[in-house]
Symmetry: D2
């Protein structure tokens, strides 16, 4: 590989009511870098880049794109070449066309997920030591994307063989079919996970917290503000990834995971951890069942050329409840 994808970097979500979104995301402790009538740019407390979550006012809730940061402009070109050679239609977005971001390209990936790559984003002051401004869940940084796709094996192959991602953990059945996979570029559990299901959809965006109590406090804060329905699942512990988790639904139904835990996956002798599809502790170490809507609902994604949301395809593996699961 002649390019280096550093990490998952930002998501661009369409929401119908920016004010409603702001109340929700502020409660979680996101830092608003800037905003206008059509956009809000959020980042976590430790982030020195301009934003990791961009909300755009839209007619319907959908995912415009999820973005990865690469090491350099040369890496960006090499990566675009790879997609070109493989027959993907690469759409370049020139520097200046998007606030705070250098030139980038977008492409519908092997599963139909709209992904973007860039190497430059404006830097801003970190708020890590501005403890007087900590609020709610004290969101630290973006951690990962979780995508529901109709063919996990295909996504797995492309991301590991072509894009250089490593697998930390995965779920498979007796026949070794892969039902879900956690893949990383930074040495954590993941930058992106793929789960078997009706796709392409974005299941959730994971944000990293520095501690468990901030996650519990997030529940208390949201409940006290009337957001009980937004608390979808958790707090709990995933067997897979060992994360202490909380799943929330924002006012448009986009799913946000608050996430604490993780471990270092830097070493080549780290062997991906296999979980059996029938092991109940995989999804919830403590044994709680996830609600149906956690399995069935996810955000529709856009065609990077038309901006239209993509239709869904049935998964290749037979769907059953505990299937496309963390």
């Amino acid at each position: 590989m002649t390019f280096n994808i550093i990490r998952s970097a930002r998501a661009v979500l369409h929401v119908k009511d920016l004010d409603a979104s702001r109340t929700f995301y502020e409660a979680l402790g996101f830092v608003e870098t800037e905003s206008d009538d059509e956009h809000i740019y959020y980042r976590g407390l430790e982030e020195h880049n301009h934003h990791s979550l961009l909300l755009k006012k839209g007619d319907e809730a959908s995912v415009e794109v999820i973005s990865y940061k690469v090491m350099s402009e040369a890496d960006l070109d090499q990566l675009a070449s790879l997609f070109d050679r493989k027959g993907y239609k690469v759409k370049w977005v020139e520097a200046g066309a998007q606030k705070a971001i250098g030139r980038s390209f977008r492409v519908q990936d092997v599963s139909g997920i709209p992904v973007e790559f860039f190497s430059k984003m404006d830097t801003v002051d970190r708020m890590l030591q501005r403890y007087d401004q900590y609020r709610g869940a004290r969101v630290q940084r973006i951690d990962h994307f979780n995508c529901m796709v109709s063919d996990v094996q295909k996504a797995y192959d492309f991301y590991t063989e072509e894009l250089g991602f490593k697998c930390s953990e995965y779920t498979s059945s007796d026949d070794e079919a892969i039902w879900a996979a956690w893949l990383h570029r930074k040495p954590s559990v993941h930058d992106v996970a793929f789960m078997n299901g009706d796709g392409p959809r974005l299941h959730h965006i994971g944000f990293w917290l520095s501690d468990q109590l901030s996650l519990i406090h997030a529940c208390d804060v949201l409940a006290s503000m009337g957001y009980v329905d937004s608390i979808e699942r958790g707090p709990g512990r995933h067997g897979l990834s060992n994360a202490f988790f909380l799943y929330l639904r924002d006012p448009d139904g986009h799913r946000i995971e608050l996430y604490n835990g993780d471990y270092l996956t830097s070493d080549p002798d780290f062997k991906p951890i296999r979980w059996d599809i029938n092991d109940p502790m995989r999804q919830t170490f403590w044994g709680h069942e996830a609600p149906d809507r956690w399995f069935n609902e996810a955000s529709l994604v856009q065609n990077v050329y038309t901006g239209k949301t993509l239709p869904l395809q049935e998964p290749t593996l037979k769907k059953k409840k505990p299937t496309f699961i963390i």
Copy 2:
């Protein structure tokens, strides 16, 4: 009133397999004061009395008695006189008949719950500053009993009017019928709660923890030991009482609540907090539903004279799922 009940003090549970129980309660961090082939005496880390939980080997799982401590021997006599006058059959147990406890009396209370009163228990070394011996949930002390009874109003009246308990919080319907009530002698939320349901039964014994993370760690420890089925409900926040809670089922099905939170209820101008029976945040502030077995299952209690478990009576208030609830 010429007597002073200090606090809820201990529970005596019958279990079928002491070894199985020991593995479970040790995992939670209970301190074993002593034991023999028929008994295990447990206490919490800050407790200076000999035990707050006594497990006795028995043929079936049941509750022998729940015990309250009174201020003095004179108080004990006065309290026995009250029960006598009211027509209750008081059963005295002389000093020496029970390990570590002075003379006591037992009685089937107004709801049929087997209760015991005593003023003296042997003291032992506190383990509060023996941090090297902290384990699991780091249980600090017994906090309260929760009893399912067929007539909450009757229990409420007897405990508040005759025994001197104060009400901190309660659940009622539009017609002001009391569905559940939290009553205290020590200035916390409760020493005992009564919930509407098939009774008399002991729904759970609550033990106080000093912090939220010990409760989360308890989930992790139990899960890693294979006790997933023992984790019944939580972690979560009760609206009522504001407790951060976890409900566990021991190997015999007795329910243990790990509990952190509480507030001071010492003042006469503290007004009992009313929760509407239809307010979902009452039982779970974050909106999670409790599983059916949390509502339907509870420990049978013994007749203090015969040792036989008592038959159940239908509740006076029409039972519906979120009825007899914290």
Copy 3:
């Protein structure tokens, strides 16, 4: 005793700059009940009474009075009678003369500390479940006063024999002279402590927090706001009382303790814990030394009749550094 003192209830401090004080106390998470040009009334998150800390604009930093709440108006009268009989000059303050408080009386206690007793204070909404408004240290409630006095034995005798306080822990030397004592009415470690030193002075007011991380966060918040010099001692663990503590100095030098820990002291068989004056773990369980200013500095107190600050008296026990210590 024919009266019942419930608990330590509020402190009235004179400060020179209300705005400077507000910035500091808001950072700690106190709830401002109300204020005007001359006063700020603060309470903790769980408190249902109007205030537990009253700041008054004054020409110099001093303590006007520390107040205890009694059970009823009759108790108030009985208590006043006791002081009268013992030769103390009781100063009544009629209802309405102080905002939110019923009639009260003030007296210079046996050590010269200005104390006040009242039975009625206006009630307000508790903020316990308004998690969206939690800030900083999330102060929950007032817990205790710590007074530096020239004769601890005299204070100890009056408070235990005349006022009905119980001793939870104390520091003594080989000759059993009492150097410091922790006394309570509510069943916690203390409502008031007396330490040997130049007195009468108020060493600190202790506020209770629900958890350790709120205390650590308070350090981070204060440091990020430039209050490094306000962080005087801690975080640490006291051997005596087992409290996890942090000592702060407000803009006028008044010392505030943030306090988490405690244990239940309700039982008559609880034996006061003796610490030897030479045991270093008494003051700091982890072995850290307290800074000199923690020992030497404290707030001057007012004469309840003249409002003038009282001159200091040398302690009866020879002062040495680890002397008047928690």
Copy 4:
């Protein structure tokens, strides 16, 4: 660069009494992989490699070597070539000569620190989800080394220019002389730090904890076991690195840092954070002073050929108390 150093991987310490060491390190929650009369092999809870801390019985306390893991055997050869070319005497240790480790080479680095590189270490079961075995500080993994050297600039240049380390934070004076630097390979704050002082010495080994309360509990556990003198500094917050820290001295005086905090340093646009040598918040965000012994004492290191401890050299920058500081 044609080699890839992954991360700091292990330290080999000589200690005089293995039993004394075992009591201490077990209290901290290290996992003992195996041991014999001359060695104890420890790892943290998430580590899948055989050990990250090797204690060897020796006649005096010293540091045999600190080790880094590289990506492959080819990387190892390339790295050895670099040292060769630069005139360093590389000492190879063949596979099998050290338990659990493949072939490695050792060299006295530019500052005289004995360093080792290897690419292979046996793997063992991770204990990350064996929560029932968590104890004490719940040490998760090795994080970094901190070395005191006589010429920080020289160390900085070699590690950044020749070995490919990146700088996350550094301390400098007005003339831009570097007094201390934090350098990383994994995308955290550091794998190694260099501080100005009498060197070469190992100041401490940092181990990562997953949360702040485990660090506080470590203080309580150590104090309850009589290790008060082992608690040297903290808990506190470093301004530099933002770490929540605790410094301990093991029975031989080796310094261990328990460390929680950190942030992601993966991006090329992350600009190293400069701290002024005179900024007191650099070393302790909350303003506490470190004790003199924290500045003056550190572990002597061995000559990799002779096993003798190396003599110390005066630092090039004038030493003053807050000089060689985190």
